[in-house]
Amino acid sequence: MHDFANAFILLSNYVLIPSITYGSQLAIGALGITLVFSILRFANFAHGDTMAFGTMVAIFCTWGVQALGLSLGPLPVALITLPVAIAVTIALVLGIDKIIYQFYRNKKVEPIILVMASVGVMFMMNGIVRILIGTGDVSFADGARFIIRAREFREMTGLDEGLALRTTQVITVVVAGVVMAALFWFLQKTRTGKSMRAFSDNEDLALLSGIKPERVVQITWIIAATLATIAGVLYGLDKGFRPFTYFQLLLPMFAAAILGGIGQPIGAVVGGFVIAFSEVALTYAYRRVFEYLGPDGFEVEGLAQLIETEYKFAISFIILVIVLLVRPTGIFKGRVL
C-alpha cells in the first residue's frame, strides 16, 4: 500500500501535474489557432511569436513594476501586467491585420497565400522580439515559488516520495480554467459570440443575415491576441521565457488544434491536454515507479524511458501525421486543413 502511494505520488509529481499544467498552456494557445482558422480560414503560423510578443510586453511591465519596488506578495507581478500586455498585443495584431491580412482578404486570395503571409508576419514578430528582449532565457516569475514543497509533503505524509506543487502550476490551471470558461460562455451565450460561430459555420448565410465580416474578423483577432498573451505569460512563468521556445510551441499547438478538430474550440482544449500528456508520459523515465510497484527488491535496468526528452517534439509531430492520415477531421469533426 505504501509502495502504491509512493508510485502514485511519483507519477503525480512528474507526469500528472506537469502535463495538466503544460496541457492548459497548449490548450489556450491552440484555442487561438483554432479560432483564427475557423473565422479567417487560414492556419496562423505567427501565433507562437504572437505569444512571445505578448509575453515580452508582460516582462517589460513586470520589470517596470519591480523597479518601483512593488510586488504582489506570493503571486507573480506578471499577472497584473497581463491587461497591459494584452492591450499592446491586440493593438499590434489589429495593426498587422489592417496592413497585411485585410489586403489579401479583399483580394479573396486562396488560404495558402494567407498562410504564407502569416509566415512572413511570424518572422517579423520573431525579429521584433529578439531585437527588443534578446534571444536568451528570461525568468520573470517572482512571488512564492512553491505552494507545497517536496520536503514538507514528505514530512506531512511520511511517504518516501515528495510532491512539489509550484505556484505557477496552480496559477496556470486556475487562469486557464477561467479563460476557457469565459471564452465558451462568450461563444455560446452572447450575440457576438454566436455571430462568430455563425460566420464560421456558413459564411454566405452569415452575410445574408447581416453579420458584418470585418467586425467578426476584428473580434477574432482581439480574442486570439488575448489568448496568445495569456498562454505565453503562463508558459513563461512556468518554464521561463525564450523566444525560440515559443516558436517551437507552434508544433504542439497545431498538433493539439488538429487532433481536436480544427475550428472546434472544445477540440483545441482536449487536443492540448492529449498532446501534453503524451509528451510528458512518453518521455518520463518510469524506473522508480516500476520498482515501487514490483515485488520487494525488484530492480529495473536502465531508465524505463520510452523516448528521450530531446525527442519530445517528435511526439507532437507523429500524432499530427497519424491524425492527418487516419482522421483528418480530428476528434470533434473539425474542418480539414
Binding site: 450575440r191 460561430r197 448565410l205 452569415a206 452575410l207 447581416g210
Partner: protein, 237 residues
C-alpha cells in the same frame, strides 16, 4: 404598381448573359413562381433580384424605389428575405440560434418574432435545442425559411425550397408557404417541381433561355396545353 418589379434583367456570371431581358413582378400576399427547364436562368433571376449577381441591363425596384445598386445585405435591411437552395442553415448551431442569427439585424433581438415562426412551424419548435445540421431535409428547410422570416420581410425569396425532399414534406412546405403569403408577405420562388408549384402560384413565370416565355396565373398555365406538353412533362392529369 407591384411591390417588386424586376424589369428587363440582363446579366450573368461571366461574359455570357444568362438572363436575356427577363421580367419578374411580385406583389404583397401573392405567390409568384418561376419555372422552366434546366439552365433557363431561374436561380440566376432571383439571385439578380437579391443582388447576388450584377445586372448589365435592367432595373429592380422594391416598394417603388430602385434597389439595383444595393448589396444583398442592404436588401435584407430594405425588407427582403432570402432562402438559398443549398447551405441555408448554420449546421453547427441549434435551431433556436439559427433563428436568432436571422434576427441579427434587429435591434430587439427578435424574441417576439421567434414565437411567430414557431407558430408557423410547430415541428421546428420541438427541435429548438437540436443542431440544425442533425435535422431531416424537410425540417432543415423549415428552419431555413424560419431564419429568413426573422427580419419580418415584406418579400420572401425561396430558391428551390423543395429540392430533395419527399412529396409529403413538399406538400407540407407548400402549405406553410401559402400561410406565409396569407399574412401579406410577397413570396417569390423558383421551383423544380413545376406542376405542384404552379398549383399554389398566383402568378407563374415560365423562363426559357433567360427570357419570359409564358406569364399567367398558375391555374391558366396549368391549363395551357403548350405549357403542359413542353414544361410539365406531358399531358398527365
Amino acid at each position: 404598381m407591384s411591390l417588386l418589379q424586376a424589369t428587363g434583367m440582363r446579366g450573368g456570371y461571366g461574359a455570357a448573359d444568362i438572363l436575356q431581358g427577363c421580367t419578374i413582378n411580385c406583389d404583397r400576399g401573392e405567390i409568384a413562381v418561376i419555372v422552366g427547364p434546366n439552365g433557363a436562368g431561374k436561380s440566376t433571376a432571383i439571385k439578380a433580384i437579391f443582388g447576388m449577381i450584377d445586372l448589365r441591363e435592367g432595373d429592380v425596384t422594391f416598394e417603388g424605389k430602385s434597389i439595383t445598386s444595393l448589396a444583398p445585405q442592404a436588401r435584407v435591411e430594405a425588407g427582403m428575405g432570402m432562402v438559398p437552395q443549398n447551405n441555408n442553415v448554420f449546421p453547427g448551431m441549434t435551431v433556436e440560434e439559427n433563428l436568432q442569427m436571422g434576427a441579427f439585424l434587429r435591434e430587439d433581438g427578435g424574441a417576439g418574432v421567434i414565437d411567430k415562426v414557431y407558430d408557423l412551424f410547430p415541428a421546428v419548435k420541438d427541435k429548438r435545442y437540436q443542431l440544425a445540421g442533425e435535422l431531416s431535409g424537410g425540417q432543415r428547410q423549415q428552419v431555413a425559411v424560419g431564419r429568413a422570416m426573422m427580419t419580418e420581410p415584406t418579400l420572401l425569396i425561396l430558391d428551390e425550397p423543395t429540392a430533395g425532399v419527399s412529396p409529403i414534406v413538399m406538400d407540407e412546405l407548400f402549405d406553410r408557404i401559402i400561410e406565409i403569403a396569407k399574412t401579406g408577405i410577397a413570396v417569390l420562388m423558383v421551383e423544380q417541381n413545376a406542376r405542384q408549384a404552379l398549383e399554389i402560384a398566383d402568378t407563374g413565370y415560365v423562363l426559357v433561355e433567360g427570357q419570359n416565355r409564358f406569364t399567367d396565373t398558375g391555374a391558366a398555365l396549368l391549363a395551357d396545353s403548350e405549357v403542359r406538353a413542353t414544361f410539365l412533362g406531358g399531358d398527365q392529369s
